[in-house]
Amino acid sequence: MTDASGLRVSTVDTEAAVVQAVRRSGLSNWRAWIYPSAFLVALVLLWELLARLEVVEPYILPAPTAVLDRMVADWPVLWDHTVTTLAEIGAGFGLGAVVGIVLALPIAYSAVFRNTVYPLIVASQAVPKIAIAPLLVLWLGFGMWPKIVITALMVFFPVVVTAAEGFASVDRSLLELLRSVSAPRHQIFSRITLPHSLPRIMAGLKIGITLAVVGAIVGEWVGADSGLGYLLVYANTFLDSTLLFASLVLLVVIGVVLFMLIGGLERLLMPWQYRSGR
């Protein structure tokens, strides 16, 4: 894909930057957790102190312990809403990832497709997702589907870009070598192209999973009767700030855990990227 548009290059730069940041942030190294954790604990303690001294009104900033109490007290309800949102994230992420990888194939292998459809895919990203959410509700109703679709729409873009880039960046002489011995195409794809593209695809999936959380919440804001996004709107309406914070905490936990799951998958699929002595 040498006919690079400026847009695509910048996306790939972003991808590289994210991978770099993830590596540098040391999410893979337990020792690197100590300092940020200690800082976070200090912040929470400060917050607790401010709340106890009632420097700010409790409905503006409830104490962390009050949020925790609320989470314990209302756990069954919170868990139900968490399950709804998790299901939306999972289905939307899966759909978006599959569509992204499948679309990347013709983009990488067909010049016609790349020149006609790819620019439109890139341009489509200028449309704010939240702006089309009401339309999706109109088309798909108030059930799970509009949330799944909007989540998938957010996820597929980083995946399609990174996967297409990966598929198209296999060393040319290596491909020639394999064609010179009449290797079957499926062999070339499964033994060379796919493993070669995995680091890029996984980077796309990491960006995708964080966007998936956003997508599900945005979908729920527009029209839903359950889910953590719905709970946020509900709590806001009744100025129920402990419920608001409880939902936020759960969303943060979901985001971090899912990101770490993808990171774990990455290590599982690409041990060669993480061997010591690199």
Binding site: D171, S173, L174, E176, L177, L178, S180, V181, S182, A183, P184, Q187, I188, R191, I192, P195, H196, M270, P271, W272, R275, G277, R278
Partner: protein, 263 residues
Amino acid sequence: MSQPEVRSTVVDEAITLRGVSKVFGTGDRAVTALQALDLDIAAGSFVSLLGPSGCGKTTLLRMIGGLEEPTTGTIAVGRDSVETALRNRLFGFVFQDATLLPWRTVEANASLLLDVTGQGPARQKVAELLRLVGLAGFERAYPDQLSGGMRQRVSLARALALDPRVLLMDEPFAALDSITRDRMGEELLRIWDRSRTVVFVTHSIAEAALLSDRVLVLSARPGRIIADVAIDLPHPRTGSVRQTPEFSEYVRILRSHIEEASS
């Protein structure tokens, strides 16, 4: 030229080029990379293509190996067309970059072509190959744990795995330091052992003189063969051959042709 007897089994695999030219692009922007070229490469010989960059030596190599179509003319390997030769897996390729797969061990990289053609696993054969290229004991290592020279040895083992009759090498040692480069050259001659034809692209005069039976000097734009020099030096060509006046004389002759080619 005092050459040992060429094995009878490989006599048929002489490479013949007749009126071969290559033009890139069309109309006003057409560039003639190679101009009407006739060439015979004897089976079992070691032939170097030497010339300044842009002289079309890589294009010539790629056309022999069927990676590129000639614009005019015909290329035959023995009695067969290049296509047939490709189908029979007669060619082995080594490029300037080792192009190893980082997720495969040395062993698995060497057996790549066996795997994708459904002939693997052939552990015995791969172990032999790795011994041949001097990598015994490194079977389980990964490419990023190897030096540049070792990576190129793996690349050579990979090319030899399907036992090609013709080894096509495109500046295989150009990225190596000069000490490693000299040693790899000697090792290549040992492995070659007249058992197959080698076509070797290089821009190093000393390398061409040390390794080859025959050096073809190409001029740039349009690419033509301006000199065909038989190198009649004794084998094995170890470092001591470099000290001989004959070697220096060949280097001098080749250099004067190169200067002619570049002017």
